[in-house]
Symmetry: C2
Subunit: 120 residues, 2 copies
DNA sequence: GCCTTATTCAACTATTTGGTTGAATATGAC
DNA sequence: GTCATATTCAACCAAATAGTTGAATAAGGC
């Protein structure tokens, strides 16, 4: 499990770590600030941040005795790129086809469902 | 780690499982067909498929003695939705800003870098 | 130097994960 | 029914993970 994408997905597979990323998407924060809302030891949060850092999702810089954490978007962009291969499954997808078919052949007694609006 | 998104990310955090999904993005396949290219026991591949199934990424139907596996895009769509909160970090992102700045103020002696084309 | 604050390190534990092997189950062919 | 094929189950093992606690390190205030 040494490849970058696996490390990224593994890092994201934890609600605490995703919450940390969400905080960091708003503002840069120190480890202590990040840890405060969590019902868990500071060491545990520090370890979660290490996981995020190893995955390249967070970088840390020193400011006096504080380690200031910052979101690094690159691995997320790579996840987005990986998803590209699967977008066709929901972008003009089979279940959208099903909607089209249902629209063309409404089941007796039921009104034809409205076409969902394509987003963007 | 019981929430859906965590299960999805955990399922994706393994290159074997991502390779299985890639296969299934081309065509529906049985467990044995899926397992053939991998240097690992059939039982191991079967377990990987169970992980994908628990995450909702794959569904299986019976056809005689074959379990036919099919890609289910919904959890991937949810990953895509989760990414939305972070897209602004690379969609007109800071490093693009840096490119703009470098273009406006080319470092002495170096040609101004060409602007990268925005994709789509 | 000494105290306080911020953070990490080290050691330990419990649980999960990814793999193995061999036995069990299910289906179709004969 | 018997045989062969496809797949899973069960038991096991090694390594990784998520948490704990207590000691160690680093920086600033005095």
């Amino acid at each position: 499990m040494t490849d970058a994408l696996s490390q990224t997905f593994a890092a994201l597979a934890d609600p605490t770590r995703r919450a940390l990323l969400a905080r960091l998407s708003k503002r840069v924060e120190s480890v202590g600030e990040l840890a405060r809302p969590f019902d868990m030891s500071l060491a545990a949060v520090s370890k979660h941040l290490q996981v995020l850092e190893r995955a390249g999702l967070v970088s840390r810089s020193k400011d006096a005795q504080w380690r200031v954490c910052q979101l690094e978007p690159k691995p997320l962009r790579e996840v987005d790129g990986w998803l590209d291969a699967y977008r066709r499954f929901w972008d003009r997808s089979l279940d959208e086809m099903a909607v089209v078919i249902a629209t063309l052949h409404p089941p007796a007694g039921k009104p034809a469902p409205k076409r969902k609006k394509r987003k963007s």
